[in-house]
Each structure stands twice: as C-alpha cells, then as structure tokens.
C-alpha cells in the first residue's frame, strides 16, 4: 500500500490484536514512531500493556527513539519479551 506503513505483531501482541499485521496510512506530513504506536494503542485496548513491555524495530533494526520519522513502506515490528526455546 503506497503511503502506508505496516505493523508486524508477534506473540502476545498478535494475540491481543488477533492479527499478525496491520497496515496504517501515514499522515501526509509524515508521522513519528511514537505517534503511530499511540494511535494503534488507542485502537486496540488489549495491546496497551503488551506495547509497554515490548521493543520496537523499524525495517529490521531496533528503534528506541519515539521521534523517529517514518517513511511509506516502513515495517514496524512489535517485539514482546521473547519466549522461544
């Protein structure tokens, strides 16, 4: 989807939303990582506690700066605490 970003939801985040991915349009003037995450937390109440315990990654790299500006096509991954093995 041009002009949009994709959220990848794993583990408890996927369980909370009931989906593995969400596509979201970017505001015309662009949006930050923090704004996107806040909007999604607004939409899915069950995701809030999970988000607080999660790390975020943008295009395969961990991103901790909420001010990071997103570009169309970006993939934002929500990583709750790992539980593999």
């Amino acid at each position: 989807m041009p002009g949009s970003v994709r959220l990848l939801l794993f583990g408890p985040a996927r369980e909370a939303v009931g989906r593995a991915a969400l596509d979201r349009p970017l505001a015309a003037e662009g949006a930050t990582l923090g704004e996107l995450v806040d909007a999604v937390a607004e939409e899915f109440l069950a995701l809030r506690p999970v988000l607080q315990a999660s790390r975020l990654a943008v295009n395969g790299r961990y991103a901790s700066d909420r001010r990071l500006r997103l570009a169309p096509g970006d993939e934002i991954a929500v990583h709750p605490p790992y539980s593999g093995g």
Binding site: F10, R14, Y82, G84, G85
Partner: protein
Amino acid sequence: MSVALVRRPLSIARAYEELQRPESGGVAVFVGTVRPDRTRRGRVVALEYDAHVPMALAALEALERRVVRRYRLTGAVAWHRLGVLPVGTAAVIVGAAAPHRAAALRACAGLIEELKREVPIWKTDRARRARRRRRPTGRPRGRAAGSRRAR
C-alpha cells in the same frame, strides 16, 4: 556453523552430523521439547512458535559467532522449529563441538540461555484452541503447514 528456522521436524542426528569433526573431542547437544504444562486454560497440548524471521536469523547468527569465539568451538548449531508443535515435539536444537568437553558443555548451555533471551521467537499456548476445534492432539499441524526452510 549453522542456524535455521524450519517448519519441518528437527533431527538430532542431523545436528550431530553437522557438529562432528575429527578435531572435536566433545559434542554437546540440547533439545528443547514442548512440555504438557498446566495453564489456567487447561493442560497444554501444543504450542505455536512464531518468529520475526529475518531478525531472528540475524540474532541467531550473531549469537553463534559470539559463542564460537568465546569457547573456541569447532562447530555450532542453533536450529528452531516454527509452527504449531504438539507436546513432546522438539522445538529447538542447539549444539556445540570443541576439542575438550568442558567448552562444548558450557557453550551448549550458553547457546540455549542466550537464544531464549535474545532471539525474536515467541510461543503461544494452543491448549484451548486445540480443544475447541476437536483436533486430535497427536496430529502435528506444523508439519502440514509445509516443509519450507526459512532460509
């Protein structure tokens, strides 16, 4: 050195083949399997394993390189299976080979510890769902999902 995320059964024999070299005096292998834990929703009959595949493979490779260097290993494997795995199924195999046994054993323990801490893989309990759908608990859904290798 070998890392993998796969949807087909893991083989300890294949892991050993990968690790066995004439210069390896000791080979240690750990297999983690799905346990029938009790949860609020009943006894676990299966777990679903999911990964953020590209990041998980990169994390496995970084982990393996680090452990190989730290313990001067002659070989290492870190393989994880994905999909819905019934109780008793091998979900993860890690292994380390070294000239001496202590290094192989310590490295093997380090691989599984750090894999759990650092690699973006998640398990989700499938107790309830398995019951609701009346799926025979012995049938491994993961295998039916195909046997593609993640890389």
